[in-house]
Protein backbone atom coordinates (compact mmCIF):
# COMPACT_ATOMS: atom_id res chain seq x y z
CA UNK A 1 0.00 0.00 0.00
CA UNK A 2 1.45 3.40 -0.95
CA UNK A 3 1.90 6.18 1.61
CA UNK A 4 -0.86 8.11 -0.08
CA UNK A 5 -3.21 5.14 0.13
CA UNK A 6 -2.28 4.57 3.78
CA UNK A 7 -3.08 8.17 4.62
CA UNK A 8 -6.30 7.90 2.72
CA UNK A 9 -7.27 4.81 4.70
CA UNK A 10 -6.32 6.56 7.95
CA UNK A 11 -8.56 9.45 6.99
CA UNK A 12 -11.46 7.19 6.18
CA UNK A 13 -10.96 5.37 9.47
CA UNK A 14 -10.99 8.68 11.32
CA UNK A 15 -14.20 9.71 9.60
CA UNK A 16 -15.85 6.35 10.17
CA UNK A 17 -14.82 6.41 13.84
CA UNK A 18 -16.23 9.92 14.13
CA UNK A 19 -19.50 8.89 12.55
CA UNK A 20 -19.82 5.86 14.82
CA UNK A 21 -18.88 7.68 17.99
CA UNK A 22 -20.74 8.52 21.14
CA UNK A 23 -24.38 8.47 22.16
CA UNK A 24 -27.17 9.55 19.84
CA UNK A 25 -28.73 12.96 20.21
CA UNK A 26 -32.36 13.15 21.22
CA UNK A 27 -34.14 16.32 22.17
CA UNK A 28 -35.14 16.53 25.80
CA UNK A 29 -38.35 18.23 26.84
CA UNK A 30 -36.61 21.44 27.87
CA UNK A 31 -35.05 21.88 24.43
CA UNK A 32 -38.38 21.25 22.71
CA UNK A 33 -40.22 23.64 25.01
CA UNK A 34 -37.66 26.41 24.57
CA UNK A 35 -37.89 26.01 20.79
CA UNK A 36 -41.70 26.09 20.85
CA UNK A 37 -41.69 29.18 23.06
CA UNK A 38 -39.15 30.93 20.84
CA UNK A 39 -36.61 31.08 23.68
CA UNK A 40 -33.88 29.05 21.95
CA UNK A 41 -30.86 30.89 20.63
CA UNK A 42 -29.86 30.51 16.99
CA UNK A 43 -27.56 27.55 17.69
CA UNK A 44 -30.15 25.60 19.64
CA UNK A 45 -32.70 26.36 16.93
CA UNK A 46 -30.32 24.86 14.39
CA UNK A 47 -29.76 21.81 16.59
CA UNK A 48 -33.47 21.27 17.24
CA UNK A 49 -34.59 21.76 13.65
CA UNK A 50 -31.73 19.70 12.26
CA UNK A 51 -32.37 16.78 14.60
CA UNK A 52 -36.16 16.94 14.34
CA UNK A 53 -35.85 16.63 10.59
CA UNK A 54 -33.86 13.40 11.03
CA UNK A 55 -35.58 11.76 14.00
CA UNK A 56 -39.18 10.61 13.74
CA UNK A 57 -39.67 10.51 17.49
CA UNK A 58 -38.35 13.97 18.30
CA UNK A 59 -39.93 15.48 15.18
CA UNK A 60 -43.34 14.17 16.19
CA UNK A 61 -42.98 15.46 19.74
CA UNK A 62 -41.87 18.86 18.50
CA UNK A 63 -44.78 19.22 16.08
CA UNK A 64 -47.28 18.04 18.67
CA UNK A 65 -46.10 20.51 21.29
CA UNK A 66 -46.11 23.33 18.75
CA UNK A 67 -49.72 22.55 17.91
CA UNK A 68 -50.67 22.20 21.57
CA UNK A 69 -48.93 25.43 22.55
CA UNK A 70 -50.66 27.31 19.75
CA UNK A 71 -54.05 26.07 20.91
CA UNK A 72 -53.53 26.60 24.63
CA UNK A 73 -52.75 30.15 25.32
CA UNK A 74 -51.30 30.37 28.83
CA UNK A 75 -53.76 31.63 31.40
CA UNK A 76 -52.44 34.81 32.97
CA UNK A 77 -53.65 37.30 35.52
CA UNK A 78 -56.21 39.61 33.97
CA UNK A 79 -54.20 42.76 34.69
CA UNK A 80 -51.33 42.19 32.25
CA UNK A 81 -53.84 40.96 29.71
CA UNK A 82 -55.91 44.06 30.10
CA UNK A 83 -52.81 46.21 29.81
CA UNK A 84 -51.77 44.31 26.71
CA UNK A 85 -55.24 44.69 25.25
CA UNK A 86 -55.22 48.43 25.85
CA UNK A 87 -51.76 48.71 24.34
CA UNK A 88 -52.84 46.65 21.36
CA UNK A 89 -55.88 48.89 20.92
CA UNK A 90 -53.69 51.97 20.96
CA UNK A 91 -51.32 50.46 18.45
CA UNK A 92 -54.20 49.52 16.17
CA UNK A 93 -55.53 53.05 16.43
CA UNK A 94 -52.15 54.58 15.68
CA UNK A 95 -51.21 52.27 12.84
CA UNK A 96 -53.38 53.95 10.20
CA UNK A 97 -51.88 57.29 11.22
CA UNK A 98 -48.32 56.09 10.80
CA UNK A 99 -49.21 54.08 7.70
CA UNK A 100 -46.71 51.28 8.18
CA UNK A 101 -47.76 48.19 6.30
CA UNK A 102 -48.75 45.00 8.09
CA UNK A 103 -46.68 41.82 8.11
CA UNK A 104 -48.30 39.15 6.00
CA UNK A 105 -45.81 36.41 6.79
CA UNK A 106 -42.60 35.87 8.66
CA UNK A 107 -40.03 33.11 8.66
CA UNK A 108 -37.00 32.11 10.69
CA UNK A 109 -34.08 31.97 8.33
CA UNK A 110 -30.56 31.15 9.45
CA UNK A 111 -31.27 32.47 12.92
CA UNK A 112 -32.93 35.64 11.68
CA UNK A 113 -36.54 36.67 11.34
CA UNK A 114 -37.52 37.59 7.79
CA UNK A 115 -40.89 39.17 7.14
CA UNK A 116 -42.92 40.28 4.18
CA UNK A 117 -45.28 43.22 4.48
CA UNK A 118 -48.52 43.88 2.63
CA UNK A 119 -46.79 46.39 0.40
CA UNK A 120 -44.20 43.79 -0.65
CA UNK A 121 -41.29 44.95 1.48
CA UNK A 122 -38.87 42.34 2.77
CA UNK A 123 -37.55 42.99 6.26
CA UNK A 124 -34.83 41.24 8.22
CA UNK A 125 -32.51 40.54 5.31
CA UNK A 126 -30.02 43.08 4.05
CA UNK A 127 -27.67 43.30 1.12
CA UNK A 128 -29.93 41.79 -1.54
CA UNK A 129 -29.94 43.10 -5.07
CA UNK A 130 -33.28 44.35 -6.31
CA UNK A 131 -33.56 41.24 -8.52
CA UNK A 132 -32.94 38.89 -5.61
CA UNK A 133 -35.41 40.75 -3.42
CA UNK A 134 -38.04 40.68 -6.17
CA UNK A 135 -37.58 36.95 -6.71
CA UNK A 136 -37.93 36.19 -3.00
CA UNK A 137 -40.92 38.48 -2.62
CA UNK A 138 -42.68 36.90 -5.58
CA UNK A 139 -41.97 33.39 -4.33
CA UNK A 140 -43.27 34.19 -0.86
CA UNK A 141 -46.36 35.95 -2.16
CA UNK A 142 -47.22 33.18 -4.60
CA UNK A 143 -46.08 30.37 -2.31
CA UNK A 144 -44.45 28.80 -5.33
CA UNK A 145 -41.21 28.72 -7.26
CA UNK A 146 -40.49 28.86 -10.95
CA UNK A 147 -38.11 26.14 -12.04
CA UNK A 148 -36.82 26.51 -15.62
CA UNK A 149 -38.29 23.96 -18.05
CA UNK A 150 -34.77 22.89 -19.01
CA UNK A 151 -34.17 21.67 -15.46
CA UNK A 152 -37.43 19.75 -15.45
CA UNK A 153 -36.56 18.19 -18.79
CA UNK A 154 -33.14 17.15 -17.54
CA UNK A 155 -34.60 15.62 -14.41
CA UNK A 156 -36.97 13.53 -16.47
CA UNK A 157 -34.10 12.23 -18.55
CA UNK A 158 -32.24 11.34 -15.35
CA UNK A 159 -35.24 9.50 -13.94
CA UNK A 160 -35.59 7.56 -17.17
CA UNK A 161 -31.95 6.52 -16.99
CA UNK A 162 -32.05 5.52 -13.33
CA UNK A 163 -35.19 3.47 -13.74
CA UNK A 164 -33.49 1.51 -16.50
CA UNK A 165 -30.38 0.83 -14.51
CA UNK A 166 -32.08 -0.27 -11.35
CA UNK A 167 -33.39 -3.30 -13.17
CA UNK A 168 -30.72 -4.21 -15.68
CA UNK A 169 -27.17 -3.41 -14.67
CA UNK A 170 -24.77 -3.00 -11.82
CA UNK A 171 -22.19 -0.96 -13.75
CA UNK A 172 -23.72 2.45 -13.97
CA UNK A 173 -22.94 6.15 -13.85
CA UNK A 174 -23.89 7.80 -10.55
CA UNK A 175 -23.39 11.54 -10.96
CA UNK A 176 -23.98 14.02 -12.46
CA UNK A 177 -27.19 12.77 -14.00
CA UNK A 178 -30.29 14.73 -14.98
CA UNK A 179 -29.37 17.96 -13.25
CA UNK A 180 -27.93 21.43 -13.65
CA UNK A 181 -24.70 21.78 -11.70
CA UNK A 182 -23.14 24.96 -10.38
CA UNK A 183 -19.50 23.97 -10.81
CA UNK A 184 -18.03 24.09 -14.30
CA UNK A 185 -15.58 21.37 -13.30
CA UNK A 186 -17.86 18.48 -12.40
CA UNK A 187 -16.73 15.30 -10.72
CA UNK A 188 -18.05 12.19 -12.42
CA UNK A 189 -18.84 9.14 -10.32
CA UNK A 190 -19.81 5.59 -11.24
CA UNK A 191 -20.08 2.15 -9.70
CA UNK A 192 -17.09 -0.14 -9.67
CA UNK A 193 -16.31 -3.29 -11.60
CA UNK A 194 -13.85 -5.63 -9.86
CA UNK A 195 -10.39 -5.40 -11.35
CA UNK A 196 -11.35 -2.87 -14.01
CA UNK A 197 -9.84 0.41 -15.09
CA UNK A 198 -12.07 3.13 -16.46
CA UNK A 199 -12.32 5.82 -19.08
CA UNK A 200 -14.78 8.72 -19.02
CA UNK A 201 -15.84 10.53 -22.17
CA UNK A 202 -17.82 13.72 -22.22
CA UNK A 203 -19.74 14.80 -25.30
CA UNK A 204 -21.59 17.92 -26.31
CA UNK A 205 -25.35 17.89 -26.57
CA UNK A 206 -24.80 16.99 -30.25
CA UNK A 207 -22.51 14.10 -29.35
CA UNK A 208 -19.25 15.75 -30.33
CA UNK A 209 -16.35 14.65 -28.09
CA UNK A 210 -15.44 17.35 -25.58
CA UNK A 211 -13.02 15.75 -23.16
CA UNK A 212 -11.80 12.30 -22.20
CA UNK A 213 -10.19 11.17 -18.97
CA UNK A 214 -7.69 8.63 -20.19
CA UNK A 215 -7.43 5.43 -18.17
CA UNK A 216 -8.31 5.71 -14.48
CA UNK A 217 -8.00 3.42 -11.50
CA UNK A 218 -10.68 5.19 -9.49
CA UNK A 219 -14.47 5.41 -9.73
CA UNK A 220 -14.51 9.18 -9.95
CA UNK A 221 -12.90 11.81 -12.09
CA UNK A 222 -12.92 15.59 -12.04
CA UNK A 223 -12.67 17.42 -15.33
CA UNK A 224 -9.33 19.22 -15.39
CA UNK A 225 -10.50 22.16 -17.50
CA UNK A 226 -13.76 24.10 -17.05
CA UNK A 227 -16.67 23.09 -19.26
CA UNK A 228 -18.64 25.77 -21.08
CA UNK A 229 -21.29 27.37 -18.94
CA UNK A 230 -24.88 27.11 -20.10
CA UNK A 231 -24.13 24.01 -22.17
CA UNK A 232 -25.66 20.56 -21.87
CA UNK A 233 -23.42 17.51 -21.92
CA UNK A 234 -23.70 13.76 -22.30
CA UNK A 235 -21.20 11.40 -20.70
CA UNK A 236 -20.28 7.74 -20.69
CA UNK A 237 -17.93 5.64 -18.64
CA UNK A 238 -16.17 2.56 -19.96
CA UNK A 239 -14.91 -0.25 -17.75
CA UNK A 240 -11.81 -1.87 -19.18
CA UNK A 241 -11.32 -5.37 -17.82
CA UNK A 242 -9.52 -8.55 -18.75
CA UNK A 243 -12.56 -9.74 -20.70
CA UNK A 244 -12.98 -6.56 -22.71
CA UNK A 245 -14.75 -3.24 -22.39
CA UNK A 246 -18.22 -2.31 -21.15
CA UNK A 247 -19.62 1.16 -21.69
CA UNK A 248 -22.40 2.67 -19.66
CA UNK A 249 -24.88 4.07 -20.45
CA UNK A 250 -25.08 2.64 -23.94
CA UNK A 251 -28.04 2.44 -26.33
CA UNK A 252 -30.86 1.60 -26.00
CA UNK A 253 -30.48 2.97 -22.46
CA UNK A 254 -31.08 6.78 -22.29
CA UNK A 255 -28.02 9.06 -22.15
CA UNK A 256 -26.54 10.44 -18.95
CA UNK A 257 -27.11 14.17 -19.38
CA UNK A 258 -26.33 17.20 -17.28
CA UNK A 259 -25.94 20.92 -17.82
CA UNK A 260 -23.52 23.45 -16.41
CA UNK A 261 -25.18 26.50 -14.92
CA UNK A 262 -25.00 29.52 -17.20
CA UNK A 263 -22.62 32.41 -16.51
CA UNK A 264 -25.24 34.92 -15.36
CA UNK A 265 -26.91 32.60 -12.85
CA UNK A 266 -23.55 31.23 -11.66
CA UNK A 267 -22.36 34.75 -10.86
CA UNK A 268 -25.64 35.64 -9.18
CA UNK A 269 -25.49 32.53 -7.02
CA UNK A 270 -21.82 33.04 -6.17
CA UNK A 271 -22.62 36.57 -5.10
CA UNK A 272 -25.56 35.40 -3.02
CA UNK A 273 -23.55 32.61 -1.39
CA UNK A 274 -21.04 35.27 -0.41
CA UNK A 275 -23.50 37.88 0.83
CA UNK A 276 -26.20 35.61 2.31
CA UNK A 277 -24.40 32.42 3.37
CA UNK A 278 -26.95 31.71 6.10
CA UNK A 279 -30.14 32.56 4.26
CA UNK A 280 -31.80 29.31 3.24
CA UNK A 281 -34.66 31.33 1.79
CA UNK A 282 -32.52 33.50 -0.49
CA UNK A 283 -30.31 30.60 -1.58
CA UNK A 284 -33.22 28.20 -1.98
CA UNK A 285 -35.15 30.57 -4.21
CA UNK A 286 -32.06 31.42 -6.26
CA UNK A 287 -31.06 27.79 -6.77
CA UNK A 288 -34.61 26.79 -7.68
CA UNK A 289 -35.04 29.57 -10.21
CA UNK A 290 -31.67 28.76 -11.73
CA UNK A 291 -32.76 25.11 -12.02
CA UNK A 292 -30.20 23.79 -9.52
CA UNK A 293 -32.86 21.73 -7.84
CA UNK A 294 -30.77 19.48 -5.57
CA UNK A 295 -29.24 22.48 -3.83
CA UNK A 296 -32.62 24.23 -3.75
CA UNK A 297 -34.14 21.20 -2.05
CA UNK A 298 -31.41 21.18 0.57
CA UNK A 299 -31.84 24.88 1.38
CA UNK A 300 -35.64 24.76 1.45
CA UNK A 301 -35.56 21.69 3.67
CA UNK A 302 -33.42 23.69 6.06
CA UNK A 303 -35.91 26.54 5.88
CA UNK A 304 -38.85 24.20 6.53
CA UNK A 305 -36.92 22.65 9.40
CA UNK A 306 -36.44 26.05 10.97
CA UNK A 307 -40.13 26.82 10.50
CA UNK A 308 -41.83 23.59 11.49
CA UNK A 309 -45.22 25.18 11.99
CA UNK A 310 -45.10 27.40 8.93
CA UNK A 311 -47.23 26.59 5.91
CA UNK A 312 -45.30 29.23 3.92
CA UNK A 313 -41.96 27.42 4.20
CA UNK A 314 -43.59 24.06 3.51
CA UNK A 315 -45.40 25.43 0.47
CA UNK A 316 -42.14 26.54 -1.14
CA UNK A 317 -40.62 23.10 -0.64
CA UNK A 318 -43.71 21.40 -2.03
CA UNK A 319 -43.71 23.75 -4.99
CA UNK A 320 -40.13 22.78 -5.77
CA UNK A 321 -40.91 19.08 -5.51
CA UNK A 322 -43.99 19.27 -7.66
CA UNK A 323 -42.57 21.34 -10.49
Amino acid sequence: MSIDEKERQALIQALVAELSASEPLHLDYEMIEAYVDGRSDAIDREIVSSHAAMCAMCGRELRDLETFAAQHRPRRNWLPFAAAAIAAGLIIAIIPLLRPSATVLSLHDGGREISLTTDGQLAGINGLTSDDARRITNALRAGSLTVPPAATQLEKSGEALRSTYSSTSSFEPLAPIGCIIVSDRPTFEWTSVPGARYRVEVFSDHFRPVVSSGELGTTHWTVPQPLARGATYVWQVTAIGSKGETTSPAPPVPEARFAVLDERNAKAIARLEQSQPRSHLALGVAYAEAGVTAEAERELQELAGENQGSADARRLLQSLRSH
Binding site: L11, E61, D64, P74
Partner: protein, 315 residues
Amino acid sequence: MRDGLDPQLESLVAARDDLARATALESLLTEIADPVIRRSLFHRLGAREPELDDIRGGVMLRLMRKLDELQRGVSEPIASFTDYVAIVTFHAADDFLRRKQPQRALLSNRIRYLLTHDTRFALWHIERDLVCGLAKWRDKPPRPRPLDPADANERQLGDSLARIFARTGAPLAFHDIVALFAATSNVADGNTPLEDADLRELAPSAFEQLESKQTAEHLWREIEELPARQRTALLLNLREAGGGSAIPLLTSTGLATAEQIADLVGIPPAELASIWNDLPLDDNTIASRLGATRQQVINLRKCARERLARRLSKR
Protein backbone atom coordinates in the same frame (compact mmCIF):
# COMPACT_ATOMS: atom_id res chain seq x y z
CA MET B 1 -3.22 9.80 36.57
CA ARG B 2 -5.24 12.19 34.38
CA ASP B 3 -6.83 15.21 36.03
CA GLY B 4 -10.51 14.80 36.75
CA LEU B 5 -10.50 11.06 36.06
CA ASP B 6 -12.49 8.67 38.23
CA PRO B 7 -9.86 6.47 40.00
CA GLN B 8 -11.96 3.44 39.01
CA LEU B 9 -10.95 4.09 35.41
CA GLU B 10 -7.27 4.40 36.09
CA SER B 11 -6.42 0.75 35.37
CA LEU B 12 -8.05 1.00 31.95
CA VAL B 13 -6.32 4.22 30.98
CA ALA B 14 -2.99 2.88 32.20
CA ALA B 15 -3.31 -0.46 30.37
CA ARG B 16 -0.44 -0.93 27.94
CA ASP B 17 -1.36 -4.18 26.21
CA ASP B 18 -4.48 -5.89 24.93
CA LEU B 19 -4.73 -8.32 27.82
CA ALA B 20 -4.50 -5.63 30.48
CA ARG B 21 -6.99 -3.54 28.52
CA ALA B 22 -9.48 -6.41 28.19
CA THR B 23 -9.17 -7.28 31.86
CA ALA B 24 -9.76 -3.70 32.97
CA LEU B 25 -12.65 -3.29 30.57
CA GLU B 26 -14.34 -6.49 31.71
CA SER B 27 -13.97 -5.50 35.33
CA LEU B 28 -15.48 -2.06 34.73
CA LEU B 29 -18.41 -3.39 32.75
CA THR B 30 -19.32 -6.41 34.85
CA GLU B 31 -18.46 -5.26 38.35
CA ILE B 32 -19.37 -1.59 38.20
CA ALA B 33 -21.56 -0.81 35.20
CA ASP B 34 -23.80 -3.85 35.07
CA PRO B 35 -25.25 -3.53 38.59
CA VAL B 36 -25.93 0.19 38.02
CA ILE B 37 -27.60 -0.49 34.67
CA ARG B 38 -29.77 -3.30 36.06
CA ARG B 39 -30.84 -1.24 39.04
CA SER B 40 -31.65 1.83 36.94
CA LEU B 41 -33.62 -0.14 34.38
CA PHE B 42 -35.51 -2.03 37.06
CA HIS B 43 -36.60 1.22 38.70
CA ARG B 44 -37.54 2.80 35.42
CA LEU B 45 -39.04 -0.05 33.43
CA GLY B 46 -39.75 -2.86 35.90
CA ALA B 47 -38.34 -6.36 35.77
CA ARG B 48 -40.73 -7.77 33.18
CA GLU B 49 -40.00 -5.52 30.26
CA PRO B 50 -39.27 -8.00 27.47
CA GLU B 51 -36.73 -5.69 25.83
CA LEU B 52 -34.71 -5.19 28.99
CA ASP B 53 -31.78 -7.23 27.71
CA ASP B 54 -31.68 -5.29 24.45
CA ILE B 55 -31.64 -1.97 26.27
CA ARG B 56 -28.94 -3.19 28.62
CA GLY B 57 -26.93 -4.39 25.63
CA GLY B 58 -27.30 -1.00 23.97
CA VAL B 59 -26.05 0.78 27.09
CA MET B 60 -23.09 -1.60 27.32
CA LEU B 61 -22.21 -0.89 23.70
CA ARG B 62 -22.22 2.85 24.31
CA LEU B 63 -20.09 2.42 27.41
CA MET B 64 -17.59 0.32 25.50
CA ARG B 65 -17.31 2.99 22.81
CA LYS B 66 -16.84 5.68 25.43
CA LEU B 67 -14.24 3.68 27.35
CA ASP B 68 -12.40 2.97 24.11
CA GLU B 69 -12.30 6.70 23.35
CA LEU B 70 -11.14 7.38 26.88
CA GLN B 71 -8.41 4.79 26.63
CA ARG B 72 -7.19 6.26 23.34
CA GLY B 73 -7.18 9.72 24.89
CA VAL B 74 -9.77 11.11 22.48
CA SER B 75 -12.45 11.63 25.11
CA GLU B 76 -12.52 13.99 28.04
CA PRO B 77 -12.09 12.37 31.48
CA ILE B 78 -15.10 10.91 33.27
CA ALA B 79 -15.20 12.24 36.81
CA SER B 80 -17.59 9.59 38.10
CA PHE B 81 -17.99 6.41 36.10
CA THR B 82 -20.95 5.29 38.21
CA ASP B 83 -22.81 8.56 37.59
CA TYR B 84 -21.94 8.39 33.90
CA VAL B 85 -23.39 4.87 33.65
CA ALA B 86 -26.53 6.01 35.47
CA ILE B 87 -27.01 8.95 33.10
CA VAL B 88 -26.47 6.89 29.95
CA THR B 89 -28.92 4.30 31.28
CA PHE B 90 -31.48 6.94 32.18
CA HIS B 91 -31.36 8.37 28.66
CA ALA B 92 -31.53 4.92 27.09
CA ALA B 93 -34.60 4.05 29.17
CA ASP B 94 -36.16 7.43 28.46
CA ASP B 95 -35.61 7.06 24.71
CA PHE B 96 -37.00 3.54 24.86
CA LEU B 97 -40.16 4.68 26.61
CA ARG B 98 -40.62 7.57 24.20
CA ARG B 99 -40.37 5.17 21.28
CA LYS B 100 -42.44 2.44 22.84
CA GLN B 101 -45.16 4.74 24.15
CA PRO B 102 -45.26 7.65 21.72
CA GLN B 103 -48.80 8.73 22.58
CA ARG B 104 -47.99 8.76 26.26
CA ALA B 105 -44.87 10.83 25.54
CA LEU B 106 -46.96 13.41 23.70
CA LEU B 107 -49.47 13.50 26.55
CA SER B 108 -46.67 13.92 29.08
CA ASN B 109 -45.24 16.84 27.10
CA ARG B 110 -48.61 18.56 26.88
CA ILE B 111 -49.29 18.22 30.60
CA ARG B 112 -45.81 19.45 31.39
CA TYR B 113 -46.25 22.43 29.08
CA LEU B 114 -49.49 23.38 30.75
CA LEU B 115 -48.02 23.03 34.23
CA THR B 116 -45.24 25.46 33.35
CA HIS B 117 -47.29 27.94 31.31
CA ASP B 118 -50.57 28.24 33.21
CA THR B 119 -50.00 30.51 36.20
CA ARG B 120 -52.37 28.45 38.34
CA PHE B 121 -49.87 25.58 38.35
CA ALA B 122 -46.21 24.84 38.91
CA LEU B 123 -43.71 22.07 38.27
CA TRP B 124 -40.59 21.61 40.34
CA HIS B 125 -37.89 19.09 41.22
CA ILE B 126 -37.53 17.28 44.52
CA GLU B 127 -34.13 15.65 44.09
CA ARG B 128 -34.42 13.86 40.73
CA ASP B 129 -38.20 13.59 40.68
CA LEU B 130 -40.63 16.00 39.06
CA VAL B 131 -43.43 17.22 41.31
CA CYS B 132 -46.44 19.30 40.32
CA GLY B 133 -49.32 21.14 41.91
CA LEU B 134 -50.80 24.56 42.47
CA ALA B 135 -48.35 27.42 42.15
CA LYS B 136 -48.64 28.25 45.84
CA TRP B 137 -47.38 24.75 46.73
CA ARG B 138 -44.13 25.16 44.83
CA ASP B 139 -41.12 23.30 46.29
CA LYS B 140 -43.23 21.25 48.71
CA PRO B 141 -42.76 17.47 48.60
CA PRO B 142 -45.43 15.29 46.99
CA ARG B 143 -48.00 13.51 49.11
CA PRO B 144 -49.43 10.46 47.44
CA ARG B 145 -53.21 10.60 47.35
CA PRO B 146 -55.82 8.38 45.71
CA LEU B 147 -56.75 9.88 42.36
CA ASP B 148 -60.19 9.79 40.80
CA PRO B 149 -60.10 8.90 37.07
CA ALA B 150 -63.31 10.86 36.64
CA ASP B 151 -61.35 14.09 37.26
CA ALA B 152 -59.02 13.54 34.28
CA ASN B 153 -60.18 14.69 30.86
CA GLU B 154 -57.42 15.09 28.30
CA ARG B 155 -59.51 17.47 26.21
CA GLN B 156 -59.75 19.87 29.15
CA LEU B 157 -56.32 19.49 30.63
CA GLY B 158 -56.19 22.78 32.53
CA ASP B 159 -59.56 22.42 34.21
CA SER B 160 -58.86 18.75 34.91
CA LEU B 161 -55.59 19.58 36.64
CA ALA B 162 -57.29 22.25 38.73
CA ARG B 163 -59.96 19.72 39.73
CA ILE B 164 -57.39 17.07 40.65
CA PHE B 165 -55.29 19.43 42.77
CA ALA B 166 -58.41 20.80 44.49
CA ARG B 167 -59.37 17.26 45.45
CA THR B 168 -55.89 16.14 46.60
CA GLY B 169 -55.01 19.38 48.37
CA ALA B 170 -51.32 18.53 48.00
CA PRO B 171 -48.57 18.26 45.36
CA LEU B 172 -48.33 15.07 43.32
CA ALA B 173 -45.57 13.23 41.53
CA PHE B 174 -45.63 14.29 37.87
CA HIS B 175 -45.52 10.69 36.63
CA ASP B 176 -48.64 9.89 38.69
CA ILE B 177 -50.52 12.66 36.91
CA VAL B 178 -49.34 11.43 33.51
CA ALA B 179 -50.34 7.87 34.42
CA LEU B 180 -53.80 9.03 35.44
CA PHE B 181 -54.42 10.87 32.16
CA ALA B 182 -52.90 8.06 30.12
CA ALA B 183 -55.22 5.55 31.78
CA THR B 184 -58.28 7.65 31.05
CA SER B 185 -57.36 9.00 27.61
CA ASN B 186 -57.42 5.86 25.49
CA VAL B 187 -53.67 6.10 25.02
CA ALA B 188 -53.05 2.93 23.06
CA ASP B 189 -49.30 2.46 22.82
CA GLY B 190 -49.28 -1.21 23.74
CA ASN B 191 -48.64 -2.61 20.30
CA THR B 192 -46.82 0.31 18.77
CA PRO B 193 -43.76 -0.97 16.93
CA LEU B 194 -40.49 0.70 17.80
CA GLU B 195 -39.50 3.11 15.11
CA ASP B 196 -36.24 4.06 13.60
CA ALA B 197 -35.36 6.66 16.19
CA ASP B 198 -31.66 6.26 15.87
CA LEU B 199 -30.25 5.26 12.55
CA ARG B 200 -26.85 4.47 13.97
CA GLU B 201 -28.13 2.15 16.70
CA LEU B 202 -30.31 0.15 14.37
CA ALA B 203 -27.70 -0.20 11.67
CA PRO B 204 -24.36 -0.21 13.45
CA SER B 205 -22.59 -1.81 10.51
CA ALA B 206 -23.63 0.93 8.09
CA PHE B 207 -20.57 3.03 8.79
CA GLU B 208 -18.14 0.17 8.82
CA GLN B 209 -19.22 -0.64 5.26
CA LEU B 210 -18.10 2.80 4.23
CA GLU B 211 -14.51 1.75 4.49
CA SER B 212 -14.93 -0.59 1.61
CA LYS B 213 -17.70 1.04 -0.37
CA GLN B 214 -17.17 4.76 -0.08
CA THR B 215 -14.19 6.80 -0.87
CA ALA B 216 -12.61 9.51 1.20
CA GLU B 217 -13.58 11.94 -1.54
CA HIS B 218 -17.22 11.10 -1.19
CA LEU B 219 -17.17 11.46 2.59
CA TRP B 220 -15.38 14.75 2.24
CA ARG B 221 -17.92 16.11 -0.23
CA GLU B 222 -20.71 15.23 2.18
CA ILE B 223 -18.90 17.06 4.96
CA GLU B 224 -18.53 20.10 2.73
CA GLU B 225 -22.30 20.10 2.36
CA LEU B 226 -22.94 20.32 6.11
CA PRO B 227 -24.23 23.58 7.63
CA ALA B 228 -21.30 25.80 8.65
CA ARG B 229 -21.51 25.41 12.43
CA GLN B 230 -21.98 21.64 12.26
CA ARG B 231 -19.03 21.38 9.87
CA THR B 232 -16.82 23.46 12.16
CA ALA B 233 -17.76 21.46 15.28
CA LEU B 234 -16.99 18.24 13.44
CA LEU B 235 -13.76 19.19 11.68
CA LEU B 236 -11.93 21.10 14.38
CA ASN B 237 -12.31 18.11 16.71
CA LEU B 238 -11.82 15.36 14.11
CA ARG B 239 -9.19 12.87 15.25
CA GLU B 240 -7.26 10.09 13.61
CA ALA B 241 -6.83 6.74 15.35
CA GLY B 242 -3.85 7.91 17.40
CA GLY B 243 -5.76 10.85 18.84
CA GLY B 244 -4.09 13.56 16.74
CA SER B 245 -6.02 15.79 14.38
CA ALA B 246 -7.26 14.23 11.16
CA ILE B 247 -7.15 17.58 9.39
CA PRO B 248 -3.52 17.22 8.21
CA LEU B 249 -4.62 14.00 6.49
CA LEU B 250 -7.04 16.06 4.42
CA THR B 251 -4.18 18.09 3.01
CA SER B 252 -1.66 15.28 2.70
CA THR B 253 -4.14 13.14 0.74
CA GLY B 254 -4.93 16.07 -1.51
CA LEU B 255 -8.59 16.16 -0.58
CA ALA B 256 -8.46 19.80 0.44
CA THR B 257 -5.97 22.59 0.73
CA ALA B 258 -5.38 24.37 4.00
CA GLU B 259 -7.11 27.42 2.48
CA GLN B 260 -10.19 25.36 1.65
CA ILE B 261 -10.28 23.91 5.14
CA ALA B 262 -9.90 27.38 6.64
CA ASP B 263 -12.83 28.55 4.54
CA LEU B 264 -14.96 25.59 5.59
CA VAL B 265 -14.36 26.10 9.31
CA GLY B 266 -14.70 29.89 9.07
CA ILE B 267 -11.17 30.72 10.18
CA PRO B 268 -8.78 32.99 8.23
CA PRO B 269 -5.99 30.87 6.67
CA ALA B 270 -3.26 32.60 8.65
CA GLU B 271 -5.09 31.94 11.89
CA LEU B 272 -5.66 28.30 10.99
CA ALA B 273 -1.94 28.00 10.30
CA SER B 274 -1.22 29.44 13.73
CA ILE B 275 -3.38 26.86 15.51
CA TRP B 276 -2.47 23.97 13.18
CA ASN B 277 -0.30 22.31 15.82
CA ASP B 278 -3.00 22.70 18.47
CA LEU B 279 -5.52 20.67 16.49
CA PRO B 280 -7.74 18.90 17.35
CA LEU B 281 -9.35 21.64 19.43
CA ASP B 282 -11.27 20.69 22.54
CA ASP B 283 -14.95 21.43 22.79
CA ASN B 284 -14.54 24.45 25.06
CA THR B 285 -12.18 26.11 22.57
CA ILE B 286 -14.51 25.38 19.65
CA ALA B 287 -17.40 26.68 21.74
CA SER B 288 -15.68 30.01 22.31
CA ARG B 289 -14.97 30.30 18.57
CA LEU B 290 -18.59 29.62 17.67
CA GLY B 291 -20.07 31.71 20.47
CA ALA B 292 -21.68 28.52 21.74
CA THR B 293 -21.70 26.44 24.87
CA ARG B 294 -19.70 23.22 25.10
CA GLN B 295 -22.91 21.18 25.07
CA GLN B 296 -24.05 23.00 21.93
CA VAL B 297 -20.79 22.08 20.22
CA ILE B 298 -21.34 18.43 21.18
CA ASN B 299 -24.91 18.59 19.88
CA LEU B 300 -23.86 20.32 16.64
CA ARG B 301 -21.42 17.49 16.06
CA LYS B 302 -24.14 14.93 16.71
CA CYS B 303 -26.36 16.74 14.21
CA ALA B 304 -23.54 16.58 11.70
CA ARG B 305 -23.21 12.83 12.23
CA GLU B 306 -26.93 12.35 11.80
CA ARG B 307 -26.97 14.27 8.56
CA LEU B 308 -23.99 12.40 7.20
CA ALA B 309 -25.52 9.09 8.25
CA ARG B 310 -28.79 9.95 6.54
CA ARG B 311 -27.14 11.17 3.37
CA LEU B 312 -24.74 8.25 3.14
CA SER B 313 -27.46 5.72 3.81
CA LYS B 314 -29.42 7.09 0.87
CA ARG B 315 -26.68 6.30 -1.55
